[in-house]
């Protein structure tokens, strides 16, 4: 893809088996005057972006001030979730707004899903070659 950036699949533990490599993207998230460096899992099967509870707290978000979201599915189905908008910067692409389902669980990954990561970025996966490419829409 023209003007795209390439990222390698990342090994998630010391075991070298193929299932341990995931498309994980370094991303900078900010809100007001706070920002964090994080790693988001690109998950085309996830309807929404998902923010673990502690990352929202690190960004200074106040739980009760955020919009209540309808019930989620998967690992976080039993946890309440709120909607939160964050500024996101990936590589040297322009900063954009990403909206997240902020869950009360910390037993989850930071997930970049259909709403709205894949609305904002075109992504090509080259799993057999161990990398993926992304570019803004």
């Amino acid at each position: 893809m023209q003007n795209s950036k390439r990222f390698n699949y990342q090994k998630i533990d010391s075991d070298l088996r193929p299932s341990n490599f995931l498309p994980i993207l370094p991303i900078s998230l900010s809100r007001n005057d706070k920002s964090i460096e994080a790693n988001g899992l690109l998950d085309t099967g996830s309807t929404v972006n998902l923010l673990p509870y502690s990352l929202g707290i690190e960004l200074g978000a106040i739980w009760k001030d955020q919009m209540i979201l309808p019930k989620l599915s998967g690992n976080v189905a039993n946890y309440e979730a709120r909607g939160i908008a964050l500024q996101a910067k990936i590589s040297d692409f322009k900063t954009i707004n990403l909206v997240f389902a902020w869950t009360q669980s910390d037993d989850v990954r930071l997930i970049l899903g259909q709403v709205n990561f894949f609305v904002e970025f075109d992504v090509c996966f080259f799993r057999s070659q161990g990398f993926f490419e992304i570019k803004p829409k």
């Binding site: 998950d43 099967g45 998967g74 690992n75 976080v76 979730a81 389902a101 997930i111």
Partner: protein, 71 residues
């Protein structure tokens, strides 16, 4: 067929075929290991089919983008 019997044949493969053979064996081991872990719980990270939450987040995004336009 034993491994000892197979090794001479494997040596005759070209470089690309040898890599494919390695990939095949790694995949086989991964499958075997996951079969052995039938009793293990696997997390489902994907927030799948949460369309109402997705719609709500898109509305939130519209509001945030509108704020930026008015600044």
């Amino acid at each position: 067929m034993t491994l000892t019997e197979m090794l001479p044949n494997l040596k005759q493969l070209n470089h690309r075929e040898k890599l494919k053979a390695v990939q095949f064996l790694v995949n086989e081991i991964a499958i075997e290991e996951s079969l052995l872990d039938n009793n293990k719980d696997y997390p489902i990270y994907s927030v799948y089919d949460s369309f109402e939450a997705g719609d709500a987040l898109m509305k939130l995004l519209e509001q945030e983008n509108a704020k930026l336009e008015t600044v």
